[in-house]
């Protein structure tokens, strides 16, 4: 390194730190635990959120059950966007949330998807035909989309027939991965994972009718850690607002 | 069956090139002698097949162990050889007995000519059979190593400086065993050493190596006496004389040794030995003084009548080496140039060689 550059480095660092400090004077950060299936929508919402409110959204993605354990053990999350409604309700009952802050931010849609174009014809025909070796679902004990998938299979009387073909991803993202890499010919994923700008982006799918399974209500809640963070409240409000709900709908959720 | 070892080796090692063409007797002890780095261990390892020279022809008696021209190479474990390493290298996970039986077990019954009792008795290790290798002294370990190699009933015994890792006392303990080996077993031995003492004591034939090349190859007594070799020019120059015990004086404890093909004799103070027994002695060049007239009133026991053969410069300016012939026995005398000029020494001159000290090699 050029010796003459040396004295400039501490100065440059000071300027950089000063800049970041300056920008965060007005705006806050909010730590959000986000259900894996909501990854794409929240990323789209986050940039608008920051533009409109100046607050920064810092998201961690994962399984709802895992987040529950982490939150119970002191994880620094301030807002929780779950993949179900039972987990936020449980946290509320156990006093880990800001009372009254729980609301449904999205209602999930289940889709049967294959990475292969034309494998699924928009109906349940391919599923019933049972010509596949592996059917991917999310772990029903841990993910509501997985539970919903088992409900659909039960409704179609396929439970026993496909029992030996089921492979479980630990979360909806992994269930998707098994199908996208071709290891499972098809699988039950969240519509939001394959839906963009109003249609299925690639492969082929069957959008499962709501009546075939218990509704996948996805609830959000402000956690105790976010009680005094104005950014947390701002996010909760923003999610209910028109911009956010439009984005959410465009990913195949309904409200 | 031909009893001979034919050896042609050529190989380039980093900083060193091996280039040998040797015919060695297929019996007795042949010493490979030279300074460190002269290639003697490499030569031995190539004969064994532990290293593979790029151009090689190795024939032991009737077996061709390697012929690089025909791409023929007999793997080590198929060669009927015994190898004794410098450090005994006994298997630490086996007892002495199990070590000894390791090779024995692996040769067919009909090929076994040395048995366990014989080998342990020969090397004096019968009382050590149940011990573990780490409980033995260096000398004991080496004796076990030798016995172990013998028990494969080899057609050729290769020894790589077996005494180098031992102190003088241990060396002295083992040398008699090696001499017994030589006397009692019929197996030819190739013995690598940088100790002239060991060579003088054990070898029948000597190969002098220097920087990967053969300087000389011949019977020990003849080769040691050659003036054209560096052997003769150093301070350790010596000759080896093979004679026969002709008399023993109990009173004075003096042994009389008859020189081969001569009426002359040497007398040396020594323990009693049987008459007629062959005996090897070493006479150092610096222990021989020359005189034109024999002295009768002197404590020197041995005075041989000899003829001056030739002369060469020694390894320093003050001395010269004189080669003499005493009825066919070669002698070397290391004297000062001054004395040479004083005596007016010249080839063919008859004089007396007075020997101050004779070392008995037994």
């Amino acid at each position: 390194m050029n010796v003459r550059a040396r004295p400039f480095i501490p100065a440059a660092l000071a300027v950089l730190i000063g800049c970041t400090a300056f920008t965060s004077v007005q705006a806050d950060e909010v730590q959000v635990a986000v259900a894996a299936n909501f990854t794409a929508p929240i990323q789209a919402i986050a940039s608008d959120f920051e533009k409109d409110t100046g607050h920064k959204l810092i998201a961690a993605y994962g399984a709802t059950g895992q987040f529950y354990t982490q939150i119970k053990n002191g994880a620094p999350f301030e807002v929780f966007l779950a993949a179900d409604d039972t987990t936020p309700e449980r946290l509320e009952k156990e006093g880990d949330t800001v009372p009254g802050s729980r609301f449904t931010y999205a209602i999930g849609t289940l889709a049967l998807w294959s990475a292969k174009e034309g494998y699924i014809d928009g109906t349940d025909k391919a599923l019933l035909a049972n010509q596949y070796t592996h059917l991917s679902i999310a772990n029903p004990k841990a993910a509501p989309y997985g539970l919903a998938a088992t409900q659909v299979l039960a409704k179609l009387d396929l439970t026993d027939k496909v029992k030996n073909k089921i492979v479980e991803g630990q979360n909806i993202t992994q269930a998707y991965q098994f199908v996208s890499t071709g290891n499972a010919e098809l699988g039950f994923v969240a519509l939001s994972q394959i839906y963009k700008n109003g249609k299925v982006s690639d492969g082929s799918a069957w959008i499962v009718p709501e009546a075939m399974h218990d509704p996948i209500r996805q609830d959000a809640v402000i956690l105790k850690k976010g009680e005094n963070n104005p950014a947390a409240k701002a996010l909760a409000d923003y999610l209910k607002g028109p911009k956010a709900t439009a984005i959410i709908k465009s990913y195949g959720y309904h409200l | 069956m031909t009893s001979q070892i034919n050896l042609r080796l050529q190989h380039r090692y980093p900083g060193f090139a091996l280039d040998l063409d040797l015919q060695l007797p297929g019996k007795g002890v042949t010493a490979l002698y030279g300074h460190s780095g002269s290639g003697k261990t490499t030569c031995l390892r190539c004969i064994a097949g532990l290293e593979r020279a790029s151009q090689a022809y190795v024939q032991v008696n009737d077996h061709i162990w390697q012929d690089s021209q025909r791409n023929h190479f007999v793997p080590v474990h198929q060669r009927a050889l015994g190898y004794i390493f410098q450090e005994a290298s006994l298997f630490p996970h086996l007892s002495v007995r199990a070590n000894l039986e390791f090779g024995l077990k692996r040769i067919a019954h009909q090929e076994r000519r040395v048995d366990l009792a014989h080998a342990t008795e020969l090397l004096g290790i019968t009382h050590l059979l149940t011990r573990a290798p780490h409980n033995l002294s260096g000398g004991e370990r080496q004796r076990v190593g030798i016995a172990r190699a013998l028990l494969t009933s080899p057609q050729l015994l290769l020894m790589d400086e077996p005494l180098a890792a031992l102190d003088n006392q241990r060396k002295g303990e083992i040398l008699p065993y090696l001499e017994r080996l030589h006397a009692e077993l019929d197996i030819p031995v190739l013995y690598v050493s940088h100790s002239l003492d060991e060579v003088a004591r054990l070898a029948d034939h000597i190969v002098l190596l220097s920087e990967g090349k053969v300087l000389a190859s011949g019977p020990v007594s003849e080769t040691l006496a050659r003036l054209d070799l560096p052997l003769a020019r150093g301070n350790d120059a010596a000759v080896v004389i093979e004679g026969r015990v002709s008399d023993y004086n109990l009173n004075y404890q003096l042994l009389t040794l008859h020189l081969p093909g001569s009426a002359q004799q040497l007398r040396v103070a020594h323990a009693s030995m049987a008459i007629g027994q062959p005996l090897r002695v070493k006479v150092q060049a610096r222990d021989i003084s020359l005189t034109l007239a024999p002295s009768e009133h002197s404590s020197i026991l041995n005075s041989l009548h000899a003829r001056v053969v030739s002369e060469t410069a020694a390894d320093n300016q003050a001395h010269v080496l004189i080669r003499l012939d005493a009825d066919g026995t070669p002698l070397l005398a290391r004297i000062t140039r001054y004395s040479r000029d004083q005596l007016g020494l010249h080839p063919g001159q008859l004089l007396w060689a007075q020997i101050k000290s004779v070392a008995v090699l037994a």
């Binding site: 004990k141 841990a142 630990q170 290891n183 | 474990h77 190898y83 390493f85 298997f91 086996l94 007892s95």
Partner: protein, 226 residues
Amino acid sequence: MPLTSADFAAIWLTLQLASLTTLILLLVGTPIALWLAHTRSRLRGPIGAIVALPLVLPPTVIGFYLLLAMGPNGYVGQLTQYLGLGTLTFSFAGLVIGSVIYSMPFVVQPLQNAFTAIGPRPLEVAATLRANPWDTFFSVIVPLARPGFITASILGFAHTVGEFGVVLMIGGNIPEKTRVVSVQIYDHVEALEYAQAHWLAGAMVVFSFLVLLALYSSRKSQTSWS
């Protein structure tokens, strides 16, 4: 006993996976370790580095690339499909392969160290005593390298029992085929079944400890010669 039959199935599966993986690694790793210990070839460095890769690569990375490779579009997947075996993902065989790759350095390196420590001399001695290479291996190398074999087995076994990332990526959590203990514990935690998670994890800790205790005690009492 709060351990369900599903838990026992997971334990049994894990033991089978670890045992089979360790056995395969001893068979495959021994020649590799011998070669690495004795060769003077220039390939020694690169091959040694490849063997050591799983030490530094995160298991999920290994798992991810296995997922791709074993899938119908990957090299391995295309080979297995050509041979009529379908794909290896979601199968016990696939897990074994993943575990073998993942635990390889843990078996090869202790063996390599043991073989190097023996050095070339005992092998030369054995050859001069009429032992051919196989004979030398079994009568000299193996006894002298015994502590290395034990260490390699312990490490390979324990490492496979603890494997999670690779299994997670390519297992598919199928009961009795790919649902190993580490995943089962994870599932219990996910489903908030803490009591079962405690019991299962506790059982594995006790078991692993007993195995290690037995093996380490046998190492100490080994005499230097027999």
